[in-house]
């Protein structure tokens, strides 16, 4: 049994959200720099240049990369040997988020009631928590700050098994085409295939945080990723959606066993500013 104070947990969450909002991942920055070299549209090139300059300003001045500093979504893998001490686990996590958004001059974007009241909670909580119990005595935290301009362009489809590989590929491409300029392309596209209605969406969200330039270890899914990405970059949407050859930086697919009757697919769209940071306690 390893004891971890909830204060340590809270402080780690706070630090991760500051990092995520100020410092874009090296994988994304390199991918945007590479895309800028290859982009066929002059105005598209200029947009990509502005994105790189923006990442640099945010990192050097410790200001938010984007004004939409997102909804805080945490994936936590908790070792089964861990015992949290000193307070309420969930409240400690929420307080870490609260302090990051307050201390870091990050925007508070959460409303209490989706339909009627829509009153801003004022501190960017509640965050969304996804917990897994895993072997060991460590806690792994993936802190995602998800912008919702792109979240709004996401979609789930319960495909039939007969739709096969083409059904998945076409749904990914169609979702990107419909999104067009709205989610701040170049996009990072997380895809979950299989499982159930909600696990497909959960896999898709995790995949928005998989490093750009990595591929599914299963070669058939890796090919599906590549085929979808190439097709999306032929749509012409381009940087900022005003034309070009860089529409997406990555299509990241995860998959899971599913029911004999179904083939769920979830496509979670993320903007180029796919902000996340991870830490181990």
């Amino acid at each position: 049994m390893r004891e971890i104070s909830v204060q340590t947990l809270s402080d780690t969450v706070r630090a991760l959200y500051l990092t995520a909002n100020y410092q874009i991942g090296k994988d994304i920055e390199s991918a945007v720099e590479e895309a800028e070299k290859k982009e066929a549209s002059p105005i598209g090139k200029s947009v990509l240049c502005q994105l790189c300059e923006n990442y640099k300003i945010a990192r050097e001045e410790s200001v938010a990369i984007c004004q939409d500093t997102g909804m805080a979504i945490l994936f936590m893998d908790i070792g089964q040997e861990v015992h949290f001490t000193g307070g309420d686990f969930e409240e400690a996590v929420q307080d870490g988020v609260r302090r990051a958004y307050r201390d870091g001059y990050l925007r508070k974007s959460i409303v209490n009631d989706p339909v009627f009241e829509r009153k801003n909670t004022g501190d960017n909580t509640p965050a969304v928590l996804h917990l897994r119990i895993v072997p060991g005595d460590k806690v792994h935290i993936l802190a995602v700050a998800k912008g919702f301009g792109s979240e709004n362009m996401s979609a789930v489809k319960m495909c039939t098994p007969s739709e096969g590989e083409a059904g998945i590929r076409d749904f990914i491409i169609d979702t990107a085409r419909k999104a067009g300029p709205n989610p701040c392309p170049p996009m990072i596209i997380g895809v979950g295939v299989g499982g159930s209605f909600e696990t497909a969406a959960l896999m898709a969200k995790r995949m928005t945080a998989r490093p750009v330039g990595t591929h599914n270890p299963n070669p058939r899914y890796a090919k599906l990723e590549r085929d979808a990405l190439e097709a999306i970059n032929r749509l012409g949407i381009g940087p900022a959606g005003i034309g070009g050859t860089t529409t997406a930086l990555a299509v990241n697919i995860d998959y899971a066993p599913t029911h004999i009757a179904s083939m769920p697919v979830a496509v979670n769209i993320c903007c180029h500013a796919a902000r996340h940071a991870d830490g181990l306690i």
């Binding site: 105005i43 502005q50 004004q67 939409d68 709004n152 012409g236 381009g238 034309g243 070009g244």
Partner: protein
Amino acid sequence: MSEYHLKLPLSAQDVQLLRAGDTVYLTGPLLTGRDAAHKRLIQLLDEGKPLPVDIRGQAIYYVGPAPASPGHAVGSAGPTTSYRMDAYTPRLLSLGLNCMIGKGRRSDAVRQAMQEYGAVYLGAVGGAAALIARSIVSSEVLAYPDLGTEAIHRFTVKDFPAIVLMDAHGGNLYESGPEAYRREAGQP
């Protein structure tokens, strides 16, 4: 595609001059407003009450800025996706609003109203929010302070960079721009 340095608010001549694809650098005052503020403005109009800000001949920037840290006029402040304002926009254009700054597609109703009343829709680069904030010189809340980031602010901007996405003559960069780079299956 031309480049212009224009003073805000835009004149009717400026609006007629601009064409989709032009680059503009804006200097002067503009209003901010997004989902919640639009809803309140339309509610007031429905009730026959006056608006808290004069929108005639003004520009509105769809933005919910991040809080300003010490030494800054405003926090990061890039555009939000504009289509969420589409339901409210034709009415505001009919009252004289002549410039919108945001990102993303607009409805047919908005595009028709832009031609009917004379208005332009400009794009700022989504996600370049820290860079854009450098061209915002000052910020003050004009209405709805209880909405926080969604309050109506007046920004004073200097050489604020934007691209004409849709003009007052039906031009639409979201159609003409991607067309040149589209290489879908079944196309030459």
